[in-house]
């Protein structure tokens, strides 16, 4: 009885979670330039427009470039920090861990406004690369959390064993530690990548008038009415996120990455 109720409850939640995406996906297949659901006719034209229309294509490429480079930068910041905190006992260095976590927990408007004030003061307001740095600092939390988790799962006796065999710090890092944390590093990158792709307010405040990322493009387009192209872009976003997270799940232990103890055996 209660098992049936539980299944029903989960199913209802699943339907509500899927509903807006299903409707948007349906709308994106409309044959005409209208937002109707169920779709009238079937057409992939709106997906084609993402690539055919210079505006959408440009926004897509900009978003991908920013996401790829800011995620890389975020990992570059997070990895040495996580390694240092794991390798050495230095309580005051935890301060940087807090700094790395804070931007993500605070309302994003605040971080965005901080960046706006900063870049405006520094005189780089509107430069595309400022978005990359801003996103990297904003999203550094994600690789920091996953990589820290990765380090904590390494048995300390492994590095001690390597040390007794004559490996110095660098060699241990390269031959033992790095291979073990690579999955966590990759998933940290993936998380940051997807979130950067979807990020709106920081990109908008920092360089909204000069750089057009996909979310900015959608929001700007929303003012002039809804088109099926937006629906197609939305489908693209969901698909991209699902793809990336599926890959993370395929090659890593997703429940563990999200904070469950190692996968339940029994």
């Amino acid at each position: 009885m209660s098992r049936l109720l539980a299944r029903l409850f989960m199913a209802v939640v699943g339907i509500v979670l899927a509903a807006p995406i299903v409707v948007v996906a349906g709308v994106s297949f409309n044959a005409q330039r209208t937002l109707t659901f169920p779709p009238v006719g079937f057409s992939l034209a709106w997906f084609g427009e993402i690539f055919a229309d210079a505006g959408w294509r440009g926004a897509l490429l900009t978003s991908l470039a920013i996401a790829a480079s800011s995620a890389a930068l975020a990992v570059a910041i997070a990895f040495p920090l996580a390694w240092f905190l794991w390798r050495w006992h230095a309580p005051w260095a935890r301060l940087f861990q807090v700094l790395g976590t804070a931007p993500f927990i605070l309302p994003p408007v605040i971080t965005a406004l901080g960046f706006l004030s900063f870049w405006a003061t520094a005189g780089f307001y509107g430069a595309p690369w400022t978005v990359v740095i801003s996103h990297a600092v904003f999203l550094v939390t994600l690789p920091l959390v996953t990589i820290t988790l990765g380090f904590s799962s390494i048995d300390p006796s492994l590095t001690e064993a390597a040390a007794t065999m004559g490996a110095d710090d660098r060699t241990v890092l390269r031959t033992v530690v790095l291979p073990l944390v690579t999955p966590y590093l990759v998933s940290g990158y993936a998380f940051a990548f997807v979130l950067s792709l979807n990020e709106y307010i920081i990109a908008y405040m920092v360089a909204g008038f000069t750089v057009e990322t996909l979310p900015i493009k959608i929001f700007n387009a929303l003012r002039y009415g809804y088109t099926p192209t937006m629906a197609a872009v939305t489908v693209f976003f969901v698909a991209a996120a699902a793809l990336v997270f599926s890959l993370v799940a395929r090659f890593g232990d997703l429940p563990r990455l999200l904070g469950a103890w190692s996968s339940r055996e029994s």
Partner: protein, 284 residues
Amino acid sequence: MTTARPQKLADYAPLVFPAVMLTVFFVVPFGIMVAVSFFRRVQGAFYEPDFVLANYARFLSVFFGEVLGFSLVLAALVAVVAVTIAFPFTYLLARLPRRRQVLWLVALLSIVSLSEVIVGFAWSTLFSRTAGITNVLVALGLMDEPMSLSPSFGALLTGLSYHAFPYTVLVLYPALARLDPTLMEAARTLGASPPCAFVTVVVPALRNTILATLIMVFVFALGAYLLPQLLGRPSNWTLSVLITDQAIYQSNLPFAAAMAVFLVLVSLALVGLSLLVGRKEAAQ
């Protein structure tokens, strides 16, 4: 590994790059924002350095009080709705077989990472006259003709709760995944039906987690800046919308900064509280 203290200066080398990046691009911008909140606004330009409290004084207006009050009530409402649904959901999720659990997690991650722009667009489509749920109701004969459900407070609350739900699940997930399953079994052998055991054991055993999650979701909802514009009426605008509006469209950076500082203080106090509550539970 964490027992040794750094020996030589070179041991600190890995810390340099992260420390510089986080200081220059997070601490300094934050400081500038705080400074700007005391600056004087100049029409036609950004602002000029000064030390005025005028930006904070504007908080004392009725309008601001209403917006703040509305933002807090809305965020609290969203937090309660999201946690009320997410808690039993996450409990069931954490007990699923691994494969199905991973599928759910991928779906939740995909949705939680969606931009507010996308969520707002999706829900306004769902609430629209032409492609919305009212069409389904009409098809079922429950309604006469399709109608638009947005903008409205209900639409905003739905959209925000939707946006916050996967986040809430992911915040609750570690605690519920680590919950000893034999606690439930023990309750059952002691005569509690599964729903009774859930209410008398799982919920009270995790009451601090629930409280901490409520606060986290509250802060999360407080940060929403697009959904109120896309799904709500102007009277449903929140502090975050106002900050964006002042910063971008009114070019009043000092006032926006003052509001942001205020929001930070509220958020920090709440996050600190939730960490404190969480630590208390971990110590038990």
